[in-house]
Amino acid sequence: MSLKISEIIDLIRRQLYGTRGIIISLISLTLLILPIIFWRLDLPFPANTLLLCLLYSILAMAWNILAGYTGQISFGHAIFFGVGAYTTMILMLYYGVTPWIGMFIGGIIAALTGLALGFPLFRLRSHWFTLATIAASEIFKLVFISWKWVGGAAGLQPPIVPSELALYYLQYAGPYIYIYIALGILGIEIIALYLIINSKTGFYLQAIREDEYAAMSMGINPFKYKMIAMLVSAFFTGIGGGLYTVRYRFIDPFAVFDLITISVYIAVAGILGGIYTFIGPIVGAFIFMPITEYVRAQIVVRFPRYYGLHVFVLGIILAIITLSMPEGVVGWLEKKGLIKRELTLFNPSKLKEDEII
């Protein structure tokens, strides 16, 4: 990447000027104050939902760089989520590594898993790629179910630690502390993805999505750039898995490698918000998670007979979005002119001749 630190700061500062800056500051401030309000008023349900919104924002943003920007629709992101979750848990449980570092290592292991999977998966295109990601995530689930060292089907659970070790093991009651951690991760992720999308790499990724053969004929190696997108995507998904581990303190293969509640939820959040937009996945997660959480917690938990209703609702949302608003909420607002389309700050005409490829 050719960006210098000063240029990066400049790029971010430019985003914070004017109306957009005011809106971003207001939203950030609200998100910072909300957990305190929920905590003082003792409202666990909205706080939990907020945490889930943030968690799925992290995941959907990561998914979108592969799906939206590179055009490789993955329904197998549960793999990276699960690998990140298991790495964090195993490091904490067997080696006493603090999750602060464990989450990061989980991201790295997930990224390496992504690289290894990229070799067979990127040989396939379009639907078949999607399909192979589902098959791969089923393999991971089945292997983790029969793998005794990682707890098998019973899963893993860390012991309760005394309160003076709470910071080291990140064990706090309720979702409140974790909301701030999620906000921190999301903030870093937004900046990192923003820089990637607005660099030459981001430009190449979109070229591959639009027309892979044309991109190839311009000298772009699609495999290499798909791998880069996969690496970044898997890294942040793995960190999201680590966050899940420290928040819920229990993982089993059925929960973290689940096709519906992980892979498909992520994809729906991204598609609902608009996969061709930068902030779409966050908007999608904040619309979609409250609905599905409300249905799940208020109806499905109370009446187990209606198990599956929240996924049924999800299916209907997905069908409506697909058939009537395929560009997503943010994309639709942009089309109507209610939001100004984010201009890419990367300007190809500024490149020197030898830098173009």
């Binding site: 396939l124 295109r125 209703l309 997905l318």
Partner: protein, 293 residues
Amino acid sequence: MTVSLIDLINAIINGVLIGSIYSLIAMGLALIWGVMDVINFAQGDFMMLGAFITYWLLALAGIDPLISIPISFSIVFILGVLTQKFIIEKILHAPLVSQITATFALLLIIRYGAEVFFGPFTRRVSTGYTGIILRYGAISFPLTRGIAFVASIIVTTALYFFLTKTYIGIALRAVSQNRIAAELLGIDVNKMYYLAFGLGVGISAVGGSLLSTFYPIYPEMGAFFCLIAFIIVVFGGFGSVFGAYISGIIIGVAECVSALFIPPTLKDVVAFGLFIIMVLIRPTGLFGAKLGL
């Protein structure tokens, strides 16, 4: 671990029998993909509907599972045509992501709709002959699996004659080979799409009805069979309907034989592993003529 010859023969026979059911689901998928270039993620769930129709006909009206097969085929065929009209037709020329999410949304609606309306319970079909086990020396298998195998051969043969000997079948293949040329020759492509989707999911429903006689019925049963069907379609070559039949049996045998050597929970990994290897060494499949890349 030693495996006796009898165990091996039994595993192969059972593999062929279960593989023939896999094949029925996979053939429907291959037909839809071949004609319309659409991947139907909800294929396994139309199969589940077939199984449930058989169950309800037996439970409510006392209709024998074997007699209910044509009924379940017809109902699911009509459902398939309606799906084509109201969902698939709208996304045929849409971007890739819409094509994927449309059939995936269909999957969620059918599977979890069944869960909500039928309840998340496991049911079984039992008639006078579901408990009978055929024995020949040390070789044995349930009668219902044998019936399912014979029925799958009949359905496949009928499909073969339909696709090669009748005008409509030949028109369907023409659309699959070249849509524009077929249109120029006066074939109504949209009607062919209705037929392909209805037939594709209808064949899966027959598989579901046959499966219900020896397999527990529950709303999420389609998940596993759908994945297996995809693997079979990739294995047999994209869009090759009869390649799908043969490779379905190969996958069934591979699964049952490997279950003798490895822990049963890892049995399904063999099928998925074969899929990944296939993708790596021969992406066009065993019998593939149509390039799937």
